[in-house]
Every structure is written in C-alpha cells, then in structure tokens.
C-alpha cells in the first residue's frame, strides 16, 4: 500500500494528547509560542496544504526536544518544527544571528587576541553596543576565549599520544577548542590513564547546531559533510569517536539525518559521549580497570543537572555512573528542568527574559542546595548556570579527572 503521507516526518502519529504541551519550557513562560503540539504536528497539516500557513512564532521554539522525550507516540515534534522553520520561514537571519552561529569563524578570529577580546566583552560599553546594535542581550556573560586553541595543544602532544596501545578520536567541539581547552585536556588525561591515546579527527568543523537554529542550513550541511567524512575515516580505522558536548553528540547523531537529511546510518552508532564510552569499557568489555585508578578521596557535595539534549539521547545514566565511581561523593540529581539558554537562543535580546524565567526553578533549586558546585555535560548550560547562580558548573569528565590522584 502506498503511503498517503507526503511529508518526510511522522506528524500523523500525533494523537493530540497534549502531553508535550505540559513539558515545553517555552510554552510555560511565553504565551506567544504556539507550543509543540500546535506549532508541530497540528500546523504541519496546514503547511503541507499551503506554505503561507507557516507561523513565524515558531521561532520561539528553542529546540530542546523535551516534547519528543515526553511524547508517548514517538512523534519527532522538535524536528518537525525545526524543519518547518528552515523550509517556510520568511525571516532572514540577521548580522547578529550570523555572528552567534558561525562559531568557527568567530573563534578563529578571537583566539589570537583572546586577552583583549575577553576584556572587551566584559566592558559595559561593549555590552551596550552589542545590545543596542546587534540585539545580543547586555545581561549575558560571554564565554572567555582561550589564547591557545585545544587543537594547537593537541598538535604539540600528538607524538606522545601515539605511544598509547589504543587510539580514539575526540570530536572536541567549538567550546573546547576556542574557549575551554582544559576540558579536552581532562579527557585526554582520563583516557591516557586507561591506556588510550587521543587523536583529533582529520578535519573537524563546528557541528552546526547553531547554524541550523539560525537558518544557515546550507553552511550547516557543508560542515556536516566534512565532519561525516572525517568520522567515516576514523570509524574505518576502528577508532571510537567520542565527544564531551551532549549537544554536538545529538546534532551529529540525530539532527544530521532528521533535519539536514544527511544519511549517517553507517557511523551513527560509533558516535557517543565520553562518559558512555568509559561506561562500556568498564562494565561491558571490562577493558578499563577502575581499581587501578588512585583517587584523592576528597569529600564532595555536588548536584547534577541533566542537559535537555543529553536527556533526549537518554544518556544521563552514563555521566551519573561515572560520577558515582568517585569515592566520598554526595551526589544529588537535580529536578528535570531546562536551564533556559538553548544555545544561542538565550543570548538574543528578545529571548533573554524568557530564558531566565525558564531557568528560574533550576536556579532556585541550585541556590537552596548548599552544593560545592554543579555538574553538567553541556557548555551552554554551564554558561547559564554560572551567570544565573552563585555556583560553578563543571563537566563530569573534569570532575572525574580532578578526583584522580
């Protein structure tokens, strides 16, 4: 029987049960957003009839995918909205959207002048200009640029990494490369402790998540093709490809096929976050022996925040299990609330207030908890939590690395 559904998504599986509307963080604070059910499957029906039915208010979707996690019918609601935005929106990306989403370009330009750029981005006058001219909200704190890129550091240590009996490839992502190489270095340290040397991919571009959400789909596809080519090469050499960023992982695995229509079936299962790789090595293949590791045994009282995209991947368990290996740890799992940043979403002036409202319950829980610090796998959750609470937010890989003696 030939399918009658001419759309390339599964919107017709929606039963109109409204469960997704309960879990949409945007809908809870912004009544202008039509919401996942209405903006997704409901309006898809109309859009298929006539593209002019597209509702520009779908721009308020932050693509957190919480609707998809909640949906009992496995409708890919977030994908439906993302694709509709790319296909039907008449809104052209602004200069601001260009700068927020072209992370490789901005990172490459900023790194050599890191001390100056970091200082300038902290100035009130810069913030006022960014706010007034570019509509980047002045309340935002920008992530600092690193003077030495992670890739430069890796190149210096390439020979030393080759000495290890096993090798794997690390998709570091823009944040580790331009802003926070220390996280990458922590990963290298842990992998080395387990006998694995770390390599870079042949060529790595920004995963493209910000390009997709800001409407630069052509550029996103180009970068995705480069990444897939490099990943295919690594996989053909039987090297695992691991990431520390949960959002990059979700983009490479799911947004490439679902939103960019790029087939990644052959390599998708080889792309995973580092904590999952470590879990497999310890518990499934038993290649890693934790009893050989020496820990500092420092008492820690920490709270873990699950990033939306990690929840979508279903992989929070692996990061928690890694943390639980650390002796003398008192670990609280925070309630399943979104932090509100949504990547570049919360940087935009028009979204700032709602982003902070979305995050408010999480910030409150953090402040009430008397934790040493917060742990999360997502770099943008980290910026949001550090800007909006009094706590530091550290990646589980760094927490583990710092717990090693």
């Amino acid at each position: 029987m030939e399918s009658i559904n001419k759309s390339d998504n599964n919107f017709e599986q929606c039963l109109k049960c409204t469960i997704c509307t309960v879990y949409c963080p945007v809908l809870a604070v912004n009544p202008q957003f039509p919401g996942p059910k209405h903006g997704g499957p409901d309006q898809e029906r109309l859009r298929l009839k006539m593209p002019s039915f597209y509702d520009e208010a779908n721009k308020y979707c932050m693509n957190c995918k919480r609707c998809e996690v909640a949906c009992p019918s496995n409708v890919r609601i977030g994908d439906i909205i993302q694709k509709a935005k790319l296909k039907y929106s008449r809104h052209r990306p602004s200069v601001r959207d260009f700068f927020l989403s072209h992370t490789d370009l901005v990172g490459t330009l900023s790194s050599p002048f890191a001390p100056l750029v970091n200082k300038a981005l902290g100035w009130n006058v810069t913030k006022q200009i960014l706010d007034g001219v570019l509509k980047v909200d002045r309340h935002r704190t920008f992530p600092k640029y690193s003077h030495e890129k992670f890739t430069s550091w890796m190149k210096k240590h390439a020979d030393e990494q080759k000495q290890y009996p096993h090798q794997l490839c690390y998709f570091h992502g823009c944040y580790v490369n331009y802003n926070f190489p220390d996280l990458g270095k922590d990963l290298v340290r842990i992998m080395n402790a387990f006998g694995y040397g770390v390599e870079l991919l042949e060529e790595e571009k920004c995963c493209g998540v910000a390009l997709i959400s800001n409407g630069f789909v052509g550029q996103a596809r180009k970068q995705a093709e480069t990444n897939l080519k490099s990943i295919r090469k690594a996989v053909s050499q039987e090297k695992a490809v691991i990431l520390t960023s949960s959002t990059c992982a979700m983009t490479l695995r799911d947004e490439y096929p679902h939103v960019l229509n790029l087939d990644n079936k052959d390599v998708r299962d080889h792309i995973e976050i580092a904590t999952r790789f470590i879990y497999r090595m310890i518990h499934e293949t038993k290649a890693f022996d934790v009893s050989k590791l020496k820990f500092r045994n420092r008492p820690l009282k920490i709270a873990y925040h699950t990033p939306c995209h990690l929840e979508k991947l279903g992989w929070e368990y692996y990061s928690l299990e890694l943390l639980r290996l650390i002796p003398n740890i008192n670990l609280t799992v925070l309630k399943p609330n979104c932090c509100g940043i949504g990547g570049t979403y919360g940087f935009k002036k028009e979204n700032y207030e709602n982003a902070q409202k979305i995050g408010a319950p999480l910030f409150k829980e953090i402040e009430e908890g008397d934790f040493d610090f917060i742990v999360s796998d997502c770099e943008t959750c980290k910026w949001q939590i550090e800007m909006s609470t009094s706590k530091k937010c550290i990646h589980p890989i760094s927490v583990f690395a710092q717990a090693l003696d």
């Binding site: 049960c17 469960i19 309960v22 009544p31 496995n74």
Partner: protein, 420 residues
Amino acid sequence: MIFDTVIIGGGSSGLTCGIRLQEAGKKCVIISSGQSALHFSSGSFDLLNALPDGTKVTNPIDALKELKAQNPKHPYTKIGEEKFAHLAQEAQRLLADAKIQTVGSYHANHYRLTPFAITKPTWLTMADYVYAEQPDTFSWKNISIINFTAYLDFHPNFFADKFRRMGMSVREIEIDLATIANNKNNLSEMRSTNIARLFDNGKTFANFANILKSKIEKSDAVLLPACLGLEHADIVDTLSNILGVTVKLLPTFPPSVSGIRSQYLLKQRFMELGGTYMLGDTVNKVEFEGNQVTKIYTVNHNDIPLRGEQYVLCSGSFFSQGLVALPNDIIDPICGLDIDYISDRKQWFADDTFDKQNYESFGIKTNEHFLAIKDQKTIDNLHVCGASLGGFNALKDGCGGGASLLTALYAAEEILGNKK
C-alpha cells in the same frame, strides 16, 4: 547494565512495582517510552464499580466471589480475595508514602464527579477533590463555582446545574487570569497546567486569593477547576485557610494536573529510593533463552543491553502502544507475547461507542501468577502488570486503576517472595 529487575513501562503500574521493589532494597530500572496515561487521570483510582453483567458494586471486596463466577479470567480472580484486601491497603499506603493523599477504601466505594458532572463510584480520590460517601450527598447550601476566562477545558454549567437540582444556591464566578497574573500577553494556551504554573507563583496566588475572597460572599464551599497544585499539593488547603471556607476541586478535561503531579511524585519516590528511570527510550529487542528473558536492548542504549534477574512488563494498552492492533491481529510489539483476543475482527468493537467494546478486554495472556506466556510456554522471569493484561474491561467494570496498582504490587511481592 545490570539490575535486579528491569521494568518496561513507567506509568502507574511500572512505578508502583518499582517503588515496592526499591523499598525492599532491589535495584530497579524503568524504561518508559514517553509520558504515561496518568496525564489523563480523573483524579480517582477505580477498584471495581460493576460486574461484567452490569450489576453495580458498592463493596468491591464482597463482589469478588461473583466476579470470579462471571469472569474467571479477571486479574482480581487470580489475585484472590485474601491478597486483594492486603494489596489494596498496600497501594493506598504506597501512594501516601509518595505524598499522594487519597481518600477511600476497598470495602466501600465512594462517589466522584466526572468533567460532565456525572456521578460515578470509585475507590481512591485525591483528597482535595469533590467526593461524597453516598451518591450526590453534600452538606453545602451555598456554593461558588469558579472558572477562568478563556479556559475551555472546564464547563462550570454542568456542575452548577447539577448542584442547583440538588437544592443548592450556586454562584458562578469567572476570574480573568490575565489581569491577576499581570500578564499583558493573551494566554493563548489556556491549559490546566499553564494555569497551575501561574498559581505556583506566590504573588499571583496571593492576588487570586484576595480577589476570590471579595467575591465568594457567604458561600460555604468554593469549588475550583482542578488547575491547582502542579508543584505544591497543599495549595488547596492554603487557599481554604485564607478564604475561611471549604475549598474543593472539580475535574477538568485533560491534561490532568493531579495526574501529572502523581506521575511526578511516584517517579520522585522511585528515584529517591535509588531507582533508575529512563524516559523517552523504547525497547527494540528482548532476548529469550529457554523460558527466561536474558536481556533487553533499547533504542538509546543500542549495543549496551539491560539485564536483570527479573523483568516486568507494564507497557500499558493501546494508547501507550503496549498493545498494537494490526488489520487482523493484536500484538505485543515489545516481547511478542501471546495475546488473549478474539480473532474475528468484526467482534472487536460494537458500533455504538458507548456499548461494551471487546477490544477493551484484550491483553497479554499470563499464568495464574501473572507470568507471561510466549508461544504457549510460561516465561519464568517476566511478569505482566496493569493495562497490558487481558481479561477485564477497565471502562465498563470500572477497575483500571485497581488492576494497575494491585497487579503491580502482586508482581513485586512474587518477585520478593521468590528471592526469600
């Protein structure tokens, strides 16, 4: 991943089973492919409202003998009279420990109202809902029924009409939330949960209470649509104290705020006891060896299987896709277990929607201890609970809630007993 028990399905049944097992120190994981049917909860759990021949039931435990005679396949028949009372008490205790306060008892049905203001018998009702020991007996004389401007999932006229016919004086009050919440935007998505979120903001709630106080005059009860208490279950008591009169909730159309809160509280309880809850994942392969399940694979965890000594299937019925209807077949898409159903499709449903529908009582076949049957062989370490089970018509017999909770507790006790 290795657990003591792997539970497939994270609604009322899966969570009840998981909580009971965690209480006894077992390490459990629940895999749930999305949120559960609790989001459409009426605010009550039914135990047994009618026998298959239509006879009304006022005392569920006394009706078990007749139920057995009329329907030997009913899950309650398998549970048996003695265990039934024990498990029904356990269920209420377990809910209370999860901070879900209910009223009701397994040996006397009480009466709730539906969103159409129809009176129906039931077993447990959320303590803050309107209920009566006997049908339509309320001591109130003057009541106020509140609704919110533009909120379409609640119809106060049905209730007002009902209470007026009972001789009460009814004041209908409409409140504009946009003014109270100081919200300049039009609340286009006026759903129960969004309204509940407004009230979770202390300032909005205080504003609302003040306005209400000025409007209710001499009412001896104030009845609100059940749009309060997503986060704080005690908000109705707080309002009652401020107003100085009884405040009770009337059911709304979905989504159900009390159901969502119950889902959240059960999940929290399960996790506080050390359970692992995996939301948004789907089991895509179950491996059997002889008469045992050995491991399961899921979409998210792919090559890393979940293993347990025991497995429990609480995947629900057609809505939750625990059962799937094909053109001429009913299947369990997860484990491929044997299903109890009529093979002639014409007999699956009656033309009149409100008649007894046979498909309602289709479900997974089990032995007398709710162990699954696959290819006519019993699977020794796989229990089946709740709406996945066959042999009962949850709508006509009014026993869906009880069947979910009691079979889940039965399975948990079997699993714990087996280990002794």
